[in-house]
Assembly symmetry: none
Homo-oligomer: 138 residues x 4
DNA sequence: GTGGTCTAGACCACT
DNA sequence: GTGGTCTAGACCACT
């Protein structure tokens, strides 16, 4: 699992974690039965308090995405709710729209925005491959 | 001035307002001496509490971007600090990057992302022109 | 930390609190890294609303004097801005001057003023030592 | 009448004006029957809005210190309430005490405070005599 | 009308 | 427990 936190962001940390787990689960980057890192492990990896991770696991369990097996660990549920994918995409589109609006206010052109997107794609690829060799990914 | 709030967003309302005022002031959409809508007026327009708007005006005054004149109104400061523009752009780039990462996890391709961006640009243009005829803009 | 509020004063409560924290921090009564009482605690101690204290902490954080750590507490910043000391002293001198002017208008002599000052010094010493044994200090 | 406003002060302007009129009337710097400058005149002299002065005159009239004669002017009342003098002195002592406390927090010694007082007395003398020749005094 | 201060109280995020 | 955001509402100060 690959999680990356932007501590300076206005988006709450727990929300960032949940969004990323949801996205990867929805996209079947890891499927049903996949074992997530322990609360303690993930908290250490991304440098946040255990309770923050715990809350996220609890919330996602409530959504039916995760399954917590006492004394064993946390797993992607056997039948993850499919409606979440749509919700994820809608939400992402909404957030992108607002960002674009802000960018336009700052005077960025359509071309500049496309450039930034491409750069972000490239960077996200690099970071991910780098992270796989480190303890940040698990 | 054009402000648009996404109440469902994870980004706090006050942060959204501040970001948008900062962006427009930095991009000189309105320059030094521009009179902002009153606290009460803006609060009414975007449907939030007066204190929330007041809070934003205070924060931006602290940054040197705004100037409040007791009993008169709130204005864009004569010499808005320039380093804010960089901060704005860095922050926006960071948020975009994270969004792109999430989009990639959801399986969206580079092409799909560019499409979404273009759509968002078109929509933001429409909303803005619509709003100009309404009381949301001031 | 020792804070004393004069509720009847024309000077707003939040201003009184800020002035006193600034003065003590500037004079290194407590230095960098010192942990201030929590918002709730200080509010309870001096009998004002939590928001009032929060507001003060926010302002002083904006000045670079304080540092707030989410979920942890509020601390004197590692490198408190030094120009604040001058501002503090100038302001105090200005307020003293105006007070002296009023005193003179009331017919008080130079000697009487010096007496009042000495009395105030003595009283402030007593109050402080008394307070140390009470919950007003923290 | 001599009024001097410190706009940067935390003490509200109207309070400053009222305090100074009260002090001078109490100290018989001008006695019963003395005609105060018109609202418009005083407002212009000290550079504040007419309404601010108006409010002060109204308040002091309510206290029995002033007497407003419609179409004529505002005068020191024939029998100014004497209990105000004590109130004035008590209040001034209280404000001085708080200032001294702040000064002590800033690390000022007893000697330094006496020096500041003496300097303020000298300055207030100079300003007053200077002002007498200008339109600030009336 | 415009900004400023303060209270009371609810709910959220992080340690 | 500690900080953060937001609402509703009262009252004050200045133009």
């Amino acid at each position: 699992m690959f999680i990356r936190i932007e501590k300076a962001s206005a988006v709450p940390i727990s929300r960032q974690i949940a969004d990323q787990i949801r996205a990867q689960a929805m996209a079947r980057t890891f499927g049903p039965g996949y074992k997530l890192p322990s609360v303690r492990q993930l908290a250490r990896d991304i440098g946040v308090n255990q309770n923050t991770v715990l809350h996220v696991y609890e919330r996602l369990t409530g959504e039916g995405l995760l399954e917590r097996r006492h004394g064993d660990g946390t797993y992607i549920s056997d039948s993850p709710p499919t409606h979440l994918l749509d919700r994820e995409r809608d939400q992402l589109a909404g957030e992108l729209e607002q960002l674009v609006r802000r960018a336009r206010m700052l005077g960025l052109t359509r071309e500049q925005l496309h450039e930034i997107i491409d750069k972000a794609i490239t960077e996200s690829l690099q970071n991910q491959s780098t992270a796989h060799d480190q303890e940040i990914s698990s």
